[in-house]
């Protein structure tokens, strides 16, 4: 039997060695954010800078808004960068999130095929556009994943007094913005996307921006810390440092220039320090 | 007892709740060849595995040179060698296989190969040394297996029906070669077989194992000529067994009544009133009914042939003399004497050829 024991000891030793390497502790930080945010590439530029300045190794976990906030609510993250204001506020009220600060915003756009079969191009009201799509039974792809984008879309349907769920022309992808745009493009359908992701992928898509500018289409990003008092193992110092970093003047400069060289216009508008009411004007 | 090489004391082996082997006492003497015979399922292989320290009995002790084996099984196993019915060679060259046991004992490569080759020559397979083990005939593989065992220069050799799976000519050839090597080396050997001829050819002593129990252990001649009970008698090849009643006893010669005839048998010691008369077919001579008998047999019984069964170069002839009597004759004699079913013959056998087994007195 001894060799069997040896085998098991070796296996366990191997695992323990791995565990040891993983224990970083103090200088590690988990940032929960959304796939659309990550897909813009903004974090690829900001995170290394943050590491340089503060020494924190940031693990950027990009999932849907729902999951990101759920992670925060379990204490499985140190900071959150999201764009689902009402859900975020609920957690602030609950006490799971603290130090919530406005960072930036961009907007959502309704995109669809160039030939626009539903005829919504140029409409000023997003709700009107969606109502038209429903009337025409034009194919529409929803995120369906409880993300910020998804929540916004559902709120617009509600405002229109419609319930498209279960109807043949309305489909849910259950995936991130990039994948959803792909599906929309392949099907010649309509969807709501944040401008950032759309711009980043537009060269691969057969879609055009058809409706924009409606204030309800604003996509507002906040950064916040997970409350270290509420959960063990939350790195409060790192979370705080990240929030401060995101609203710092330097970072805000970077944000306001991000995307210009690639798309001709910035993907985001930096808003730190402003109050939310100021954003109604775009 | 301390002179025995291997001993079993009060050994029981149980498997799935039933007793498959019960040996209160067995000694394997140094330098002897002990043949263990029995039918399939008698427990012979189990007995061999216990002797070879490859299986631990449920109860009882195994002794090596008088001392218990517990705790030193591995070192003792390395002083013995086992040959199974299948050669069980590994996927490598024959030479590597034959040297395997030596390698396990840490013998250096050069020596290993020398010894392996020496024994492969002895058993006539040196020419296949470099071949892959999958490319051997059954006979070649068993020769390699024997070479592998002898290369270890063991103190005890155990063989479990090593020739059962081979064709007859190969079997006979290997039997002779093995007999030669054993006689030369004087190796303590335990040889398990269900073939009586092999047992007689190789064994100094024979142990008869039936139903997991040793029924008789003794010199080969004794076991075959004087089996201790009916079952052993049947197994060792006594084909004529008839109940008889003692009617007289004078000067070492008993008179027995069987089926209306009287026969005479040599006895030593007291005579039981009811016995089983046993005769080996080799001891019964057949002659034409009125011919002159050249032998000095005391027992002559006329009878009718009821059955003739040819078996290779011989034939088994059953004669009804009032009771069934089985004789074995050569094919030639069969023809010369005109022995066919229904023919009349005179069967005769010596008084000394009759073996008596006491029976419990019937009604």
């Amino acid at each position: 039997m001894t060799w069997r024991r040896i085998a098991i000891v070796v296996a366990l030793a191997g695992l323990l060695a791995l565990v040891a390497t993983a224990c970083g502790g103090g200088k590690e930080m988990i940032l929960a954010t959304t796939t659309s945010t990550q897909d813009t590439g903004l974090l690829d530029e900001l995170v290394p800078k943050f590491k340089e300045e503060t020494g924190y190794n940031v693990k950027v976990i990009a999932v849907g808004s729902g999951e990101a906030l759920s992670m925060a609510d379990r204490g499985d993250a140190d900071a959150v960068l999201a764009h689902a204001p009402s859900s975020e506020q609920a957690l602030v009220d609950k006490g799971s999130l603290i130090n919530r600060q406005l960072v930036m915003h961009n907007d959502f756009v309704i995109v669809g095929p160039a030939n626009d079969p539903a005829g919504i191009k140029g409409m000023e009201s997003a709700v009107e556009a969606l109502t038209t799509i429903a009337d025409q039974k034009a194919p529409f792809i929803s995120r369906g994943d409880d993300s910020g984008t998804d929540k916004l879309e559902k709120s617009l349907w509600k405002k229109a007094g419609l319930d498209p769920q279960g109807q043949g022309w309305y489909e849910e992808s259950g995936q991130g913005m990039g994948a959803t745009l792909q599906i929309t493009s392949q099907r010649g359908a309509y969807t709501i996307s944040d401008r950032g992701t759309y711009l980043a992928q537009s060269s691969n898509l057969d879609l055009e921006v058809l409706v924009e500018g409606d204030p309800v289409l604003l996509n507002i990003y906040h950064v916040m810390q997970v409350n270290p008092e509420q959960f063990d193992r939350v790195n409060g110092k790192a979370g705080q440092a990240f929030v401060e970093f995101m609203v710092s003047k330097e970072t805000q400069d970077i944000i306001s220039k991000f995307g210009v060289d690639k798309y001709g216009r910035p993907l985001f508008i930096a808003d730190a320090g402003k109050s939310e009411s100021e954003l109604g004007l775009q | 007892m301390s002179e025995a090489k291997l001993s079993l004391r009060d050994v029981w082996v149980r498997r799935r709740g039933s007793d498959i082997l019960q040996v209160p006492h067995l000694d394997v003497l140094p330098g002897e060849v002990l043949a263990i015979i029995g039918p399939n399922g008698a427990g012979k292989t189990t007995l061999l595995m216990v002797l070879g320290l490859l299986e631990r009995p449920f109860q009882g002790e195994v002794l090596f040179e008088g001392e218990g084996v517990r705790g030193r099984e591995l070192s003792l196993r390395r002083r013995m060698a086992v040959v199974f019915q299948e050669a069980l060679l590994l996927r490598r060259s024959v030479l590597d296989n034959v040297g395997l046991g030596l390698g396990l004992r840490g013998v250096p490569r050069r020596q290993r190969q020398e010894r392996a080759l020496h024994w492969m020559e002895r058993f006539g397979v040196a020419h296949v040394a470099r071949r892959g083990s999958r490319n051997l005939s059954g006979g070649e593989a068993q020769r390699a297996s024997l070479a592998r065992a002898f290369a270890l220069e063991p103190e005890v050799l155990l063989l479990d029906e090593p020739f059962s799976g081979l064709d007859q000519p190969t079997r006979e050839a290997l039997l002779e070669e093995l007999a030669g090597v054993l006689a030369e080396t004087g190796l303590t050997t335990v040889f398990v077989t269900h073939d009586r001829d092999e047992a007689v050819r190789l064994g100094h002593r024979v142990a008869v194992l039936l139903g997991g129990r040793l029924r008789q252990v003794g010199p080969a001649a004794d076991v075959f000529a004087a089996p201790v009970d009916e079952e052993v008698a049947a197994f060792v090849g006594v084909e004529t067994m008839v109940p008889a009643h003692a009617v007289g006893d004078a000067g070492g010669l008993a008179r027995l009544e069987v089926a209306g005839r009287v026969i005479e048998a040599v006895v030593k010691g007291p005579l039981a009133p009811d016995v089983l008369v046993c005769l080996r077919p080799e001891d019964v001579v057949l002659a034409p009914p009125d011919g002159v008998m050249s032998s000095s047999a005391r027992n002559r019984l006329p009878g009718v042939i009821t059955r003739v069964v040819p078996l290779g170069a011989q034939a088994r002839v059953t004669v009804d003399c009032g009771f069934p009597l089985v004789a074995v004759v050569t094919r030639r004699s069969l023809e010369e004497l005109g022995l066919v079913e229904g023919a009349q013959v005179m069967a005769s056998f010596k008084a000394s050829a009759v073996h008596l087994i006491p029976r419990p007195t019937a009604s």
């Binding site: 085998a7 191997g14 565990v19 992928q201 898509l205 | 396990l104």
Partner: protein
Amino acid sequence: MDLIWDGIREAFRILGTGDYSLWEITLRSLFISGSAVAISLFIGIAVGSLLAFNEFPGRNLAFTAVNTGMGLPPVVVGLMVAILLWRSGPLGQLNLIYTPAAMIIAQTIIAAPIVTGFTAAALRSLSPRLRSQLYALGASRLQMLWLVLWEAKLPLLAAVMAGFGGAVSEIGASMMVGGNLAGQTRVLTTAVVLQVSRGEFAPAIALSLVLLALIFAVNLILTTVQQQEQRS
């Protein structure tokens, strides 16, 4: 169609230049899946030989468990391991979540039943008398194990290859417990998904080609060894 041709052409260019951290990701895939398979091999030999050689009550149940384990959906394994390793979970203080170590653990859980099942089958296929013969030749337990494993080395190799194949191509568990972090826990499969979700097909194709080549190479080894064995 243009998309695919452009993608393939661009993919080869990326293979040549090593952009998108291609080789770093490949090495990490090899390291993580390789470690998982190595650990699985130890487990497989220990448990597989137990199943193959020893009789014990509940042996059939154990075999069934191993076979069931082979069919475990990797994403389910990922979820279970993630729940354990999250900070909010029972093993949170190990700080293993989103590390290569966590991925190795998850992939080991996925690969171990495969390797164990194959190993048990391979050892069972050997002649039952063989072990007695080897013991009779004077093998110690360790020597016997080594000889028996060497004798069954072909099916064992197949077991390792199957385990590796399962580990290196799985994505659900790696995503969940690894987080697909650039430079830390990104492997070939998770990288492909990321690139596709970003609409960047050329690097996705390049990464896929590397993954295919890897699996092909691994199978080539097995086939070559098998052929050598058969010839001898």
